[in-house]
Amino acid sequence: MCMGGPPVAAPRQEEEEAVLEVRVHLLGGGRYNINDNADILSEILARLDGRSLAASASVCRLWAAVSRRDAVWEALCLRHVGPASAGHATRTVVAALGGYRRLYRLCLGPALDRLGRAGALAHAQARARLSLSLSLSLFSIDCYERLGGAGGGGAGRQQPPSSLLFLCKPVDVS
């Protein structure tokens, strides 16, 4: 990663703690450590794809904290489904349902994988564009299932939520 100026990115391992330092020479001298500014870090991470973003959580504690911010995952999700589709109420609703990170993990990620694979097969059906409404619908069903039987005793039969299982079964690409 480089920011402005002559790009000199020199990651270096510090002694005990694995703190990644990106030393950059800015115009006019001076050094800059990305870890000093979590907001810029989150801006950067927001541009990653899902897998990399998840992996970045294992870099160091700061990165783990930043990559868990929902805003980062929100940017990722909206990038895939079209940012125009999100109204101002979307954030509240998604937060209530479990957050964008969860949405990506449970719905969008597997769905994009599945569609990507299907697209590669180049079959007659046009490239299906995953819409926010569809993924939110699936997400809400899953959230509903997890609510479980509160209130009355009932049979107490707690089935693990499985409405999204179909997304995780491997595609037969024979």
Binding site: T92, V93, L97, A128, S140, C143, A155, S162
Partner: protein, 612 residues
């Protein structure tokens, strides 16, 4: 006695095993004339000949170098490879002569063709013999039309040899091939005879192809067994339709054996249909089981069906889209769900309403459900769960549960809001939703009209109807049977195609497999109802989209076109399902159908009150 049993068992096992059939040869052959168990399969072998036949089969096997592999694998063998090209299917029910012909072919140039055996199988039972006219199957859909098995002319030499060998050939009447019937000598004692279904497969026209040249023989086992299986099912259904229950019984017993030779979806479908036919033939009407276990089981099956295949999800999503569009701009909305079950359709709608521009309306849901056998109020539990969900996403939610044994019990006043309606507030906009509920009403005359009248009385903005796209309600049993055989075969195929691979979610090791099995049981119960029940008990009275259009049109409703949004969403949803290649969404005059390859299986339609 015991040794005889073992001998008979052993030799018949050898004979049967070599033929690639895994039939259970455990009972001794009681009859002296023809081995009963092989006869049940359609093979006619005299018990005294058994050792002979077995020996010859072993010789044949050695000659062909198959080493115990069934004839189905013969195509792999170089020796028989050439046989795969121009072949003629023989029906080797006359086992002895067939084996004889195979052996002599190996040892010598092809002899004159073996005489076409008469296709009789004995069954213990009433005296005399009766004719079963060939079923009309051959004239029905081309899937079941079988190429006539050519029956070559009888060579006089063979005729005498065979007639000496098989004095027990039964005269079977009209449909049998000409040559063999003429040679039948003594009728042999007792035993009514029922023609195996395979007989029907060789119509009299077979004699016309009498001059087929002497060609080598290949038996394609599984395919032929599959065709025989379908034939057995249809012939049995026809027998049932004609109230010919003894014939039906004989046929019904063959089905499990034939089904065992198939694999995958066909086997399961045949098993369910066979069981349903057996119930019908033996008059075992399943009592409507109102126990708690059954209700919970039905719920469980429904839930698994929901997860394993896209039909229900498709139904919910498209209906929700129509309702959402109908509710555009309304501040108070009311949805009436004719079959709330677990309420899986509504979280998605609530979420969509929460996110619509202008904010969510205040939402009221009336869920209708059947009476529960125990004290728990399942409807209230579902309502509570939905209320919790609605509270999470901040949608104003009200719920009312209505218990009704049948939808016809509903009256318009039950669907009206409680309490005084504030005259300043705008009236609520109503949507009625019915997923797989309307066809049940057809079991009672007049029920559907009453329900549609009730629906009209509440003046809904939109009515969404999802039904199976098939005609399982025609007057003729055979029509119903063959239609449903087609339909459920396609359904099972789609389950087979989609439910593959282990699930890697921690919720269960074979969750994928469990889902599929449960869905099959769910469909199996429907099959049982369509085939085995009659009158009021037969609630699975599916009708096609065209038929529903007529009914709803007569009741004063007109179609609302489901927009392209719904179509796109449905297509995307299906692409997400494994095996998504097979599912096809089609639009048919404003209604959406979901099908497997070329066959539509589910149809969603939306309606509103027609302008007077």
């Amino acid at each position: 006695m015991k040794r005889e049993y073992q001998d008979a068992g052993g030799s018949s096992a050898a004979a049967a095993g070599d033929m690639g059939k895994d039939s259970m040869m455990s009972a001794p052959a009681e009859e002296e004339e023809v081995d009963e168990l092989l006869a049940a399969l359609g093979y006619k072998v005299r018990s005294s000949d058994m050792a002979d036949v077995a020996q010859k089969l072993e010789q044949l096997e050695m000659a062909m170098g198959m080493g115990g592999v069934g004839p189905g694998a013969a195509s792999d063998d170089g020796f028989t490879a050439h046989l795969a090209t121009d072949t003629v299917h023989y029906n080797p029910t006359d086992l002895s002569s067939w084996v004889e012909s195979m052996l002599s072919e190996l040892n010598a140039p092809p002899p004159p063709l073996p005489q076409t055996p008469s296709l009789a199988s004995t069954v213990t039972g009433g005296g005399g013999f009766f004719d079963i006219p060939p079923p009309s199957v051959d004239s029905s859909s081309s899937t079941y039309a079988l190429r006539p098995i050519p029956s070559p002319p009888v060579a006089p030499a063979d005729l005498s040899a065979d007639s000496a060998r098989d004095p027990k050939r039964m005269r079977t009447g009209g449909g049998s091939t000409s040559s063999s019937s003429s040679s039948s000598s003594s009728l042999g004692g007792g035993g009514g005879c029922a023609r195996s279904s395979v007989v029907e497969a060789a119509p009299p026209a077979a004699a016309a192809e009498a001059n087929a040249p002497a060609l080598p023989v290949v038996v394609v086992d599984t395919q032929e067994a599959g065709i025989r299986l379908v034939h057995a099912l249809l012939a049995c259904a026809e027998a049932v339709q004609q109230e010919n229950f003894s014939a039906a019984e004989a046929l019904v017993k063959q089905i499990p054996l034939l089904a065992a030779s198939q694999g995958g979806a066909m086997r399961k479908v045949a098993a369910y249909f066979g069981e349903a036919l057996a119930r019908r033939v033996f008059r075992f009407r399943p009592q409507p089981d109102s126990s708690l276990l059954d209700a919970a089981f039905a719920d469980l099956l429904h839930a698994h069906f929901y997860e394993s295949c896209p039909y229900l999800k498709f139904a919910h999503f498209t209906a929700n889209q129509a309702i959402l569009e109908a509710f555009a701009g309304c501040r108070r909305v009311h949805v009436v769900d004719f079959g709330i079950k677990q309420g899986m359709q509504w979280p998605a709608l609530l979420q969509a309403l929460a996110l619509r521009p202008g904010g969510p309306p205040s939402f009221r849901l009336t869920g209708v459900g059947p009476p529960q056998p125990d004290e728990t109020d399942a409807l209230q539990q579902v309502g509570w769960k939905l209320a919790q969900f609605a509270h999470t996403i901040r949608v104003d939610f009200q719920y009312r549960g209505l218990v009704a044994a049948t939808l016809a019990d509903l009256e318009p006043f039950m669907l009206q809001p409680e309490g005084e309606e504030d005259p300043n507030e705008e009236p609520e906009v109503i949507a009625v939703n019915s997923v797989f509920e309307m066809h049940r009403l057809l079991a009672q005359p007049g029920a559907l009209e009453k329900v549609l009248g009730t629906v009209r009385a509440v003046r809904p903005r939109i009515v969404t109807v999802v039904e199976q796209e098939a005609n399982h309600n025609s007057g003729s049993f055979l029509d119903r049977f063959s239609e449903s055989l087609h339909y459920y075969s396609t359904m099972f195929d789609s389950l087979e195609g989609a439910g593959q691979g282990p699930s890697d979610i921690s919720s269960g090791p074979a969750a994928g497999g469990t889902d599929q099995v449960m869905s099959e049981v769910y469909l199996g119960r429907q099959i049982c109802n369509v085939v085995a029940c009659e009158g009021e008990e037969r609630t699975e009275r599916h009708e096609t989209l065209g038929q529903w259009r007529n009914r709803l049109g007569r009741a004063g409703f007109e179609t609302v076109h489901l927009g392209s949004n719904a179509y796109k969403q449905a297509s995307t949803l299906l692409a997400l399902f494994a095996g998504g290649d097979g599912y096809k969404v089609e639009e048919k005059e404003g209604c959406l159908t979901l099908g497997w390859h070329t066959r539509p299986l589910i149809a969603t339609s939306a309606w509103r009150l027609a302008a007077p």
